[in-house]
Amino acid sequence: MSAEQLTALLPIIAITATAVLVMLLSAFVSNHRLINMLSLLGIVVTFLTLLLVVNVAPVQVTPLLLIDRFALFYGGLILLSGAVVVMLSRDYFLDSENTRVRAAEYYILLLVAILGAMVLVSASHFGAFFIGLELLGVSLYVLVAYLAPSIGGRIISLEAGVKYLILSGVASALLLFGIALIYAEFGTLTFTELGERWRSAEALNGLFAAAGIGLTLSGVAFKLSLVPFHMWTPDVYEGAPAPATAFIATVSKGAIFAFLLRFFTTTGAFENQMIGLALALVAIASMLGGNLLALLQTNVKRLLAYSSIAHIGYLMVAFLAGATGYVGLPVVGEAVGFYLVAYFITTLGAFGVVSALSNMHGARDLDQLDDYTGLFWRSPWLATVLTAMLLSLAGIPLTAGFIGKFYIFTAGAEGLLWWLLAALILGSAIGLYYYLRWIVVIFKQPQEQGNQMPVALPLSVNMSIVLTLLALALIGLGVYPPPLIDLLQSI
């Protein structure tokens, strides 16, 4: 392995080292803050190593990993999100020393999950993909169920863990079976070779290859929670601790989508009509189904879960535009990249507020819509951030979400995907309803529920910083997106 390749692996090594370090440390100390700080530091250092690697990229490290600007960009995104989640966890797991649930393992798992996600986005081979996916997945099972053994016990956390484990296991099996079939058909596991054979082989004329690609798609669709593979999403979102939910909603999905993008652009598989049709159907079903399911939802975590289903559906429109042949792949990459960044910021912000209002004690997070009544009058800043995030989810200007949606519109329009765009508009219109309903609740005047004066909510400095940064990023990208666009164009 050359020095260059080693350099390229630096981020992955760094994050692994962090995980190991935290593991070692946790054997001796149980100071939550210390572990939290160390994790954060590790992530930040890893992020800094990315900047080093930019100069050597692209580097093919064994057939397994391709560290190019694409991988670095998404790696960076994952790390930043990870850092945010770590910071959110700090307050969420405050006072964990005094309970049966130690927070140390939580951070280890989180770091391993980040590692998995980073491997996932760098994968150029099914083997690496598989390893990354399962590193991410298995860590998540535990993260989701993390609060199950706590005193009193979060039963919903346990339930979510069990559900996620079983369903995700099934999905992994589907995915792997699909990969196995593809392998049996084409005899290679690297994406580039696969692409070459694919094109030369007159596109998928074997029964097993067709089934294989279908199964693989199904597995990916599950991870992205596209309709009809979506049903686990709300339950897992609801049961998992809020920071972990934020992580699942962003890193897990984002990494898979990045993989999808790389896989399909490298292999060109989605130019196949069958796949295109299947994906289009799934996308439409997700856009409409996700929004419809969220419509009257009163649990905000479930609401965000359904909304995320719809958002991945939107994202599929940009993705599918690439399949039409009218839109260049770089444009698709750009659109997807921008949308993901916006979606990351927004989702982290929204769950950030939820976790700021919740903690590990108690049977559930603060996730009932009613809990947010008059939030604006108790905690204006939290409410403002949340509102901004919701508006971004709804795709309203001044926020990054709007530019993201605009990107999808341009890609869709350029690709002449009118049906998909129609579904997008319809879905967005339905979606407005529940975002607005939440906003209405936030701004409800306190006088309507008795005469008690609103009590100001305490907000830690740490939280303020995170949320403020997210809000600034949201507005910044919404008002002046060129820097990010330039970055995406350089990939």
């Binding site: 298995v138 559900k163 079983i166 099996a173 079939l181 058909e185 339950d235």
Partner: protein, 102 residues
């Protein structure tokens, strides 16, 4: 060496896989559900081996090893959760975890 046609291997794997899937879908005991998942993973392993043998490569077997690892990890976590479940509900019926809905 008389090789078995690759289709036969894959067909067998498919049947095995479907059996596993069916098990997941219908068994109420969560232990059995986990076991059915194991069957699915093993079906995957079989398919990889078949593929490997078709192309005379080690890749398929390597992947099989990875699948085994995954299955082990999956079951480990799974059993831990089953334990918690049993502690809380004194049962291993999978339907006890259906509180969250709608």
């Amino acid at each position: 060496m008389i090789s078995i046609p690759v289709e036969h291997g894959l067909l067998l794997a498919t049947i095995l896989f479907c059996l596993g899937l069916l098990g997941v879908l219908v068994r109420r005991n969560i232990i059995f559900v986990l076991m059915s998942m194991e069957i699915m993973f093993n079906a995957v392993g079989l398919a990889f081996i078949t593929g490997g043998s078709r192309w005379q490569q080690a890749d398929g077997q390597v992947m099989f090893m990875l699948v085994l690892t995954l299955a082990a990890a999956e079951v480990a976590v799974g059993l831990a959760l089953v334990l918690q479940l049993y502690k809380k509900f004194k049962t291993v019926d999978i339907d006890v975890v259906s509180d969250m809905k709608g």
